[in-house]
Symmetry: C2
Subunit: 233 residues, 2 copies
Amino acid sequence: MTAERIDLAEVLGKTALLSDLSQPELHTLATRTVRKLFNTGELLFSEGEPCNGLHIIARGKVRIFKTSISGREQVLAVNMPGESVAELPVFDGGPFPASAMATEEAEIAYISRRDFQAYCMDHPEVALKVLKVVGARLRRLVGIIEELSFTTVRQRLISALLKLAESEGIGSSRGVEFQLPASHQELANQLGTVRELISRNLMRLQAEGLLDVDARQIVVKDMKGLSALLEST
Amino acid sequence: MTAERIDLAEVLGKTALLSDLSQPELHTLATRTVRKLFNTGELLFSEGEPCNGLHIIARGKVRIFKTSISGREQVLAVNMPGESVAELPVFDGGPFPASAMATEEAEIAYISRRDFQAYCMDHPEVALKVLKVVGARLRRLVGIIEELSFTTVRQRLISALLKLAESEGIGSSRGVEFQLPASHQELANQLGTVRELISRNLMRLQAEGLLDVDARQIVVKDMKGLSALLEST
DNA sequence: CCCGCGCAGTGACTAAAGTCCCAGACTGCT
DNA sequence: AGCAGTCTGGGACTTTAGTCACTGCGCGGG
């Protein structure tokens, strides 16, 4: 048993999909996986391509997105290590519905479609796990639809800021402080809008006294005031 | 064996989810199903409620939708007889992500969550079928996101008209003729906008000479011209 | 040191979306 | 016939989104 195999089995065991499997089972599966490396900005696959296997992220981040004819992007998900990517086309046999790009150097464990399907037939509990994971994905998509359909860019930005403040914010004398995790452009892609509106809305919130903005450094001076804006208007 | 049971087994056999099962298996499952009736406009379930079982449509149509605080609706899917509704929460245990309403009198076969999950453990091929169905659902959601994020109301309406013309249109001397399947309000809910914009955009297309509109009766006079509008602008 | 490049901020403008409101047509019911 | 309810058409207006073009900053490489 090589070091590589042990490593892959470890990775597999840490994914939500396979976390309940025993050590021997993980090693069996590991013999079937291929390790793939991607540089920052490299595509794992493109929208419309046929899907031949399951990708599991061992290291790095992967962004799932759609591109419009005019060049705009809509991010559907950002997946982290331990998560799987594009589980669904593996089962329904259709092409990838969106593209996937490594946003930092990434290491991927790849299992062929046939192997994984066969594995699911032998281990129904894995199939149920897949359904669970897919359920979470579907909920996120419904959430995106809800936001796009019902809310303004301003509200979506505020809601994103509040989430960031909660998950990454550090309290300081001036308020809750954190860094934007990406460029305005990328944030715009996630919120389904354009760069300029991110910039303008941030400035507007600053003018209203709710935030201090210094490039990507954000200080939320009035969390309550900010979340109040989600209800009204 | 009662007439009712025979009927339910038939219904089950016609659903995409269970179409591969043998007669005896269908009958076994049928003993576990409950028949439910819903009047037009009645809710099968509401967003946020816990999900205790799988709904299979025997008769009637069911509309899946989200409601905003301000009262707007976004339709996620319209399901027909033979289709199942909300397969996913059955597996991930979470609440319903959206509400479901019978848009005409409907008859539903209901299988409890525990029974269906148990059944999937015994019949992994059913679990894989579920994954397939869910895959199609996910693709549709991604399609909705794409439309909301990248296209204008006008383009979404045109694309909806073209689909209707293809599926239900009848060629006549004046062009391709068909009826809108629902009110402007309902169409607006499906396209993620408001009634007025549907009305106005239809009138605008008529003024441009591409359509003849008489309430719900539509005559597409220039199919090519209409589809050309999807590319440009 | 300077050049190029990617990112952020901004002004001016256009277009699209949405709101409010009312009038008229049609349907079904009494 | 008359009434209530639903649906469509449309006028007038406000707000939001998006586009285009330009400025300026900061950083890394030649």
